[in-house]
Symmetry: D2
Subunit: 337 residues, 4 copies
């Protein structure tokens, strides 16, 4: 930690900061500069809460060298983590996986047909929402309990493991009965009670990046789950909110190699929500794979024009088959099959 | 609703869209233009879900004229709402109120002393967090249950009504026992299970704008609560996330008059979280009041330099007294006292 | 400057960085920490270019304590600057001024009538664009030379000094003949050849903040002009680009008190471009004044519904008169008249 | 164009809007809805300036169906454009090209060695800045005239065509003497006098997207150049400014396929400026190629640790050779060689 003093800070103020640092049990090293003095803080292991310091007279700024997360960081855990979802391995060195399915479970026929179709085309996991977070209360909110039942049925029929969203701490247990990978949606990335509850679970968790979450906040949210005792974490980039409105969100693909550097956790990419536009999904899937993503999430619907949500970004069965052709060629290019 | 066709859409495609609109029970009015055809949708009352249309062949874009919210809109409810919190009126035409107190309840002495001090200086409500959403798991997370008990004590000692955050649906009942105004924090603005639960309550709710929430999403979140049956809603602008990092957030003051146009709900402003910097709080409080805010939230701490969170943006007792002088002069300037 | 090493940096790498710092003529002070080493750089006066350091093996990050600007900073020049435009004083301690007029000069009748009307209502300066930056080439681009002639005429008729935009280095001389305050538009804030040319002038300059410029970049752009030898600088906040599309831009009012802390230069506010909506202009003008702005820019047009640009954000003569009533009451409230 | 009226607009107001539309020479078609009336505007060919309409009493919003650009749009010009730079073809169906070189020309040895090295590794163009836009005035601003001379020398030695930035209208002629492709930097994307001057040239232009430019603004800027008479345009995505500060900018790769849909112009990608970090450049180059980019720009420096600008994002010669291996394998995968 480095404490930067105001250019007009007095010797007494500098002295008080030095004392406060020592009271916290650390060493303080004043570094006088041309314009102002800075004070280095030594001896801390990990992140120091700066509340006591940041506000002393004469302090201009406190700069953290350590990060607010530790368990998720590669510095702390150099070996890449590989997460197992019903025998499917997700992470560095493994064949990148594909989770596919509709935005929302809408009925038995829709979800079972989709499950069989994406399975036949080569998907590894079935995605589908039973509980749906929707901007306004006057649109379809998901089949909820009935949706979970249908997902279980689709799993039985297709043999595909299920990834589905859990929106509330008190739903974790119930959703875990039918899901193999528990998704935390972008709007809930900082629903800390939910993260804590998932930390107490042993189910694998897929954490989507919040719409305006920095990478530091993203990794800190994952840190809640690892701190709670659940190491089965997969991160997922799904586009961030920017000034650009031509796409639904802006896919931030450079986080894929950056997270590879900062963390040992696997990272997947969801180009359907990121772009919001069917025609942009295949090029962004290809881009994600060569950028190093450990898996992708794609929305597929038997009749996108009748989907109750996210139709415009859903692939048809035919579109998904064509995409899987690309995926196979790229896996082979990348040395995976 | 207006459906814009591709410049190359065929007559058959236009025809299919017209039929789909009629199947939804609405009238469709094709409008041929120089470059492309558009189709007007008539006869709808309120927002129409465009899922069935947006994806038909030849459709380029669907433009909504109606908004996804209704109960919160001024069009639907022209008279400004005034919300009553323990006899204190908040809304258009009422004296703008001041809620003050620490970011987090840290102990009995801290919260009771602050309650008495802000009461003496003229605050209307006491704010203070028992449940604290924090970016990472390794910092202070609030006193939780014990914090609620201390807030109840501070209310008893000072006579001030309490505003405090509720983070989870299953806490609503418990927090309601001690809070007079239930705050939904920025990170939970789209925690829809929480919003639904608050819709079933009759307690007044203070809904903070999400960090990257558009005004349409902000009003749609409030719509959840009104739709649930709870009309006691107050909105709160607390700064949005932008590229600028010199302040903690960017205070978007122009939403104050804009929300006045779009909605009948009262709107408050929180300059402490918006700026993150003590010296910027008083000018932004003054600005909020003359822009038409119906109330302000300000962080105050007996010893900001020892605060466990948000110290740098908290006012001292003395700073708050000085601010209340400004507030009184501005209330008088605005004709309120 | 603080150099943060990777957690795995070797002693040899640390040593190389220390040597490189010494070769630049500064002192280097290694600060070993729990997780990693940092190296303090001492003895520099002002900003150091980190190009030579940032890339050495083992270096993770370089943190600057000094800022890339100096002449504009309050640290360097503690006394607030007051700029004189034809006898009108702009800056701290002076009565906040009002510049008003149309977005673009459209004809003799329009600009002269507006000049006389805003003069009568109490404006201090006449604004109006002769050279107009427009997003696309197929809309009105300004009257250019003829616009300058008409501005000179309006000045003669009304006695008001003129503020108008200059878009190119080779226009500075010509525009200076008729303008009393040279405006650099948001899109040109980093047109460095233009800034250099204005640095060679002695005319006062009004520098608008770029649409996505940080405060550091904004002050660095001003630094170009002061470095060139022209101290007559006024800054202007005009809204920044964010994800919110309900307003044209997001007015960042908190920069007013923040720039007061960081710089000695005066700061004005343009709520017309910031909000893009006539009804939001008066509340934002009031907010800007109590936040400490040294002046405001407002668009006024005799018939906004016929304006060739920015009609929806322009006040009518009547609207401007009403606004000036507010301005006078607030000036009096603030102790200025 | 669709004109949306207020929910409380009177019949007389609707009538006035209809008349105004007819006065412009278009047809007006009122579309009464459940909550409000909208008015369709028919008969326009291309974008209509809404200044006269947008401000009439009762008008709430004007929605444009046509876009503010035409010459650059695929609707107007369905066949993809291929641009020729000294015999190198850039555009759809052509082998994606690589432009490489230092951020800035720093001296004869540096630029000539780099030119020979990137040529040997397989680059198609040499990049290098003579005129450098820099945030503050106290850092290296480029060798300017001398830089142009050295670029000409490097071209002669290596045989590589040159791409370099032009910052001012009055430099276009001089820079054209030594450059084969004229770059407009991100900060100058809306320097309209520069765009107009380039429209009068016949040299190919590489237009970088502005830091906060929407795709509509980006294409509108290109429209200036085509409107001026120069059809030799290449677009370049180089990262946009978002809230995320972990990378220098956020690379918006999804614009590659989106621009392919909207425009006939070629699009290149610059991952060096987008990410600001050497280790992220190769994965983003790979991602850009499979997303459909027609070329890439990469910064290469003989000794990045001594570069006067952008060292941390520059590849070494060895790093560039390795990257070209990837590029060749991907070109082959994509069917280009």
């Amino acid at each position: 930690m480095l404490i930067v003093m105001n250019y007009s800070a007095t010797a007494a103020e500098i002295d008080d900061v030095v004392k406060a640092v020592r009271n916290m049990g650390f060493r303080a090293e004043p570094i006088p500069g041309g314009e102002r003095t800075a004070i280095g803080v030594l001896g801390n292991e990990g992140y120091v809460d700066d509340a006591v310091i940041r506000d002393l007279p004469g302090v201009q700024e406190v700069i953290h060298v350590s990060k607010p997360y530790k368990l998720v960081s590669r510095a702390f855990h150099p070996k890449s983590s590989v997460i197992d979802v019903c025998g499917i391995k997700i992470g560095k060195g493994c064949r990148p996986i594909v989770a596919a399915g509709p935005c929302a479970v809408e009925g038995e026929d829709q979800i079972v047909r989709t499950a069989l179709a994406v399975k036949a085309a080569g998907a590894d996991l079935l995605r589908g929402g039973a509980f749906k977070p929707r901007t306004g209360p006057h649109t379809f909110q998901g089949l909820r309990e009935e949706g979970l039942r249908l997902l279980a049925l689709a799993r039985k029929e297709s043999g595909l493991p299920i990834v589905t969203e859990v929106m509330s701490p008190d739903h974790v247990e119930r959703v875990s009965e039918c899901a193999d990978l528990l998704q935390v949606g972008a709007r809930n990335m900082q629903n800390f009670d939910l993260l804590r509850e998932l930390g107490r679970s042993s189910k694998p968790v897929l954490l989507k990046r919040g719409m305006s979450a920095t990478i530091e906040e993203f990794l800190s949210a994952a840190e809640y789950i690892l701190t709670g005792g659940n190491p089965n974490m997969i991160l997922c980039e799904r586009g961030i909110r920017t000034f650009e409105t031509a796409m639904r969100n802006t896919l931030d693909l450079s986080v894929v190699p950056l997270i590879e550097e900062l963390s040992h956790l696997p990272i997947m990419v969801d180009p359907s929500h990121a772009t919001g536009k069917r025609s942009l999904v295949p090029p962004m899937v290809r881009a994600a794979l060569v950028a190093g993503a450990h898996g992708i999430l794609v929305e597929v619907h038997p009749e996108p024009e009748k989907a109750l949500s996210d139709g415009p970004q859903s692939l048809t069965f035919q579109g998904f088959e064509a995409l899987m052709g690309d995926v196979r060629r790229l896996r082979s290019f990348l040395g995976f099959e």
